[in-house]
Symmetry: D2
Subunit: 330 residues, 4 copies
């Protein structure tokens, strides 16, 4: 069986998914839609698919699944439309920046028995996935503490910051999902600490650029997330999971692993400077996982519920910062 | 000039300092005192010094300085006595487990213009000291976030735990001092999160064995400390300081740095399994720093005030855990 | 401009190149030929190209270039035929196991002004290429010593060994090319030392499984190559270039870079266990380089002359082992 | 029992051994002799021992053992004298630069049933010793190939070079001993390749500054030694032992193990820049081993025979370079 795809949104991340779908032997990219015809045409000509309207893709009989890469504020509406149209849906995170809107959307997905995967690509990073496998195999015993270091190479433009929903909903949300992926228990408490250290303009826009968040589960397990919008040395993405029998960790990744030594010391190149090169393998594996789940009729993970939970953690983090106290979740 | 020493307490840590003093060309170990004659005799015969009573050392004209390695509950009294006797004092941490008692003791030190160094040996670890030097040289710009990983190889006996003052006053206190050493600003907020994950008996004794603490300064700098009473892979002691221009970090230390690779992978030996072997160089450098300060009449660091501040952070950490909120310091 | 390709040989390495050509936006895979119809069909259906005979590809007007992945003993004949047919040629190494045959073949390429690239893929490995870049930028000064560690995960079947031309022509040949790529001067002396340590059957087949080779240039630069047909920990591929100002080195690669620590120590997974996964990026970059050279009319590197020189080093290595002495080249 | 020592030679290495002897609880430094009274006085006052003449030490009843740190050309004579005087002897390498002189000297040692240790300190380096332990425990199976990287931080003065006996007898001799320590079989063939790349003045003095040496045993095991008189990044001392089941390696050592990362990459400090700081632990362990052997009446290793064999390898290496061929040993 071949899964036939429609792509909604032909921007930066749309191109990534177009390539992943086209390169997958179990999938075929049938059509692409975008508000900018030139963007859609580029993908159509590169991968030999048609340009169609969203409505046409919705109605198409030759399309089984869609990948939603449109602007965030269109996600929930499109999910509802395509769930009703009976298409399997892969949607870039987040479903929406408002938790109530997400809940309403997931209700429609549930009512229509829709299949929805949410794009928390990091679960599919081979290194992070290997850490999870080590946990599942019992090699480090019972999980006790997860530490996630997540620092962006550089801050996005303030215009982006203003529309982003804030650092917790835009950036930490990936780490919230990773913490849930690794903790093995749902967090029941959250404490967040945020500051403006990188760029005053971010503070003036009402957001933070540096943060530490602690999640605690009922049994006392902890996840510690540290974030910064700047890392001069590249995209800093590390995880460490301490258990009763040992610790598993995933190191940083760099484009080339060479070392040059001279009188000044031993120097290795900076890390990846962009999330798309850092997570190239993760993006491909994510779509592969989506296709495999559709083909086998398997449960889709991460799903809409995972998207909602990460968003609720982001909301609670913001509340914790504002109130200077630990927040009980749920 | 040679600094002539009396050693008070001939136990485990007393032996470490006896060796450091004896091996230092600017110092001489003149006498040792201990409630157990056999312990004092062992040091006397190994290093060629006399056994004396504490009173005799207090009154001795051939002794310039003392190293206090007696049980914690005697520290404050001995500091006061030897400050009044005009001896320079090196005292193992803590001065006392009660902040009010520490304050009273430091008042006596101030009144007698006493010289007091408190044994936060980690400041003298060559690797941590090198990180501090990198900061001082401006190589990483303005400090923004300090992360301290501090995990003991194994939990002490519950009897020790009961007398220890609890994890924050016994274990984290070193990390509080290290955070102050590296942050470059005094913390104004503290939030602590603790759990019993390693040993239920520790919980039954009213203490915790796992903890995360966040310190925040007025300008928003953060220090994140993670602690556990257990690390199967050895004594995990890492620091990482993120600044506006980069990051400086100190790696873990192991007794031998070899690697064996076979079909199961690449394996390096576990870390040091004991604080004394991990911090051998730090203990020697600490006494060296004390002697140098006495000889040059230089300011002693870390001093009683540093001891007090670390203890106050420990007290506030406990309050934060109990009240589930961030505590404003001072 | 799009370069239109014919693929000769649809085996293991043929599939790798089919994928690389198909995935390259400047190239198109037009046809595939193989003695086994099923193999050709598989590639044709996976990448949407035609199955043709070698003769048809030779005569085709819609084909600009060929990739030769057929058995070694057909390489030289095919290069001559396609050079005469005016096609650009990418040929897997070696051109032939006999240096005289290679010379005759290259004469035809020269007479027909043919374009020929020889598949020394390792030059295109991003890590090794980065080391070469460091040299070219002068960062390590004048090259003095190159060390190449090249150890296979496991020995091939003895049947393969018998047809391989021996360890120097089959395995070390890649390292000879890498040494020439990095030394910056042609070797004038070669000394080789070989043994049978891994598998007696290899010795009975008249070959060796372990070897060390020293190359020396006129000015005294050295390259040291160590080889083994077995490395339990994976495919060991390291280079180190020492110069007057410093050293540049390329580390080993593994599929996932995680680490698990427990009471037995710190363990990272084994290295890649197969040359195709280790050199995935190199294979793609190699074809990319071939296409770019054709498009720009640029000089092709590595070319037939590079293939010949590596083979001559292999021949001289065997002579050195047999005679127990250093051999002067050329 | 306490072993009572006389120290012959109070120069740089003499001080190292004076400290090691004084700090050892089973040993006592009784007397020191040196042609320069000031040098002897300095050690006498630092460690509380007497200054005596060599003759007095030879005749002394209160001295059990001597450490010979005088100039190389006095070693053999002193060994003979002190062997006849019944003292246990630790002698810095080499016994002599002339193999015949060494043989004659060892004959005297044998006749007098003398106890002689030769100062190949690297066997006692904890990291190299740990590699040997891994071999002895069978963890890497049968040894197949040993690679030794040994590069000095900087070339010694040409005056030193002229008296040194040449790179093989002065520098590589340590690596020859290490190769024998790790190979598990005696080498039967040696091939050496040397060049002048670092400093022309070294070449004008008739010596080399860069070299590669291959040792081969009867069964085909190989040791590959690479040497340079210059390493801008510090004292490069690595070993790697490949066996049938895996590989064991010892990494380089640096004074502080920190890392600083910024936009230029991740930088660790240079290695140790001096053999005395690199091998501090080895020097102490070596004397400890000598004392333990004397006390227990145990066999001394490495002994005079080890010194002779390393020298013979050095002589054969020079012959190999001159004749451009592999030399059969013994």
């Amino acid at each position: 069986m071949t899964v036939r795809f429609g792509l909604l949104g032909a921007g930066r991340i749309g191109k990534v998914h177009a390539k992943a779908v086209s390169g997958n032997p179990q999938a075929k990219l049938v059509a692409v839609a975008d508000a900018f015809p030139a963007a859609a045409d580029a993908i159509a000509s590169a991968y030999g698919c048609e340009v169609r309207t969203i409505e046409a893709i919705e109605a198409a009989k030759d399309i089984d699944a869609v990948v939603i890469c449109t602007p965030t504020d269109t996600h929930a509406d499109l999910i509802e439309r395509f769930a009703r149209a009976g298409k399997a849906i892969f949607c870039e995170k987040p479903v929406d920046l408002d938790a109530e809107r997400v809940k309403a959307c997931l209700k429609v997905v549930a009512e229509t028995k829709g299949k929805l995967m949410v794009g928390f690509n990091r679960r599919f990073d081979p290194h992070f996935a290997a850490v999870r496998k080590v946990i599942d195999e019992g090699k480090i015993g019972t999980v006790e503490m997860v530490t996630i270091t997540s620092r962006d190479p550089g801050a996005p433009p303030v215009d982006y910051i203003k529309r982003s929903g804030g650092i917790f909903r835009d950036m930490t949300i990936h780490d919230f999902d990773m913490a849930r992926f690794l903790l093995g228990e749902e967090p029941v408490f959250i404490s967040a600490h945020a500051a403006v250290l990188v760029d005053k303009a971010i503070g003036e826009a009402g957001d933070f650029d540096s943060a530490t968040v602690i999640l605690e589960t009922e049994s006392g397990r902890q996840a510690v997330i540290t974030n910064s919008r700047r890392a001069t040395y590249g995209y800093d993405q590390r995880i460490e999971v301490h258990g009763s029998k040992g610790v598993a960790s995933a190191e940083n990744q760099r484009p080339v692993s060479i070392e040059v030594a001279n009188a000044d010391g031993y120097t290795r190149p900076p890390l990846h400077d962009f999330f798309m090169t850092r997570y190239t393998e993760a993006y491909a594996a994510e779509i592969e996982g989506f296709i495999a789940a559709i083909e086998k009729g398997a449960t889709i993970t991460p799903n809409g519920e995972d998207g909602l939970k990460a968003l609720q953690l982001a909301d609670a983090a913001l509340q914790s910062v504002k109130e200077g106290r630990r927040i009980r979740l749920g």
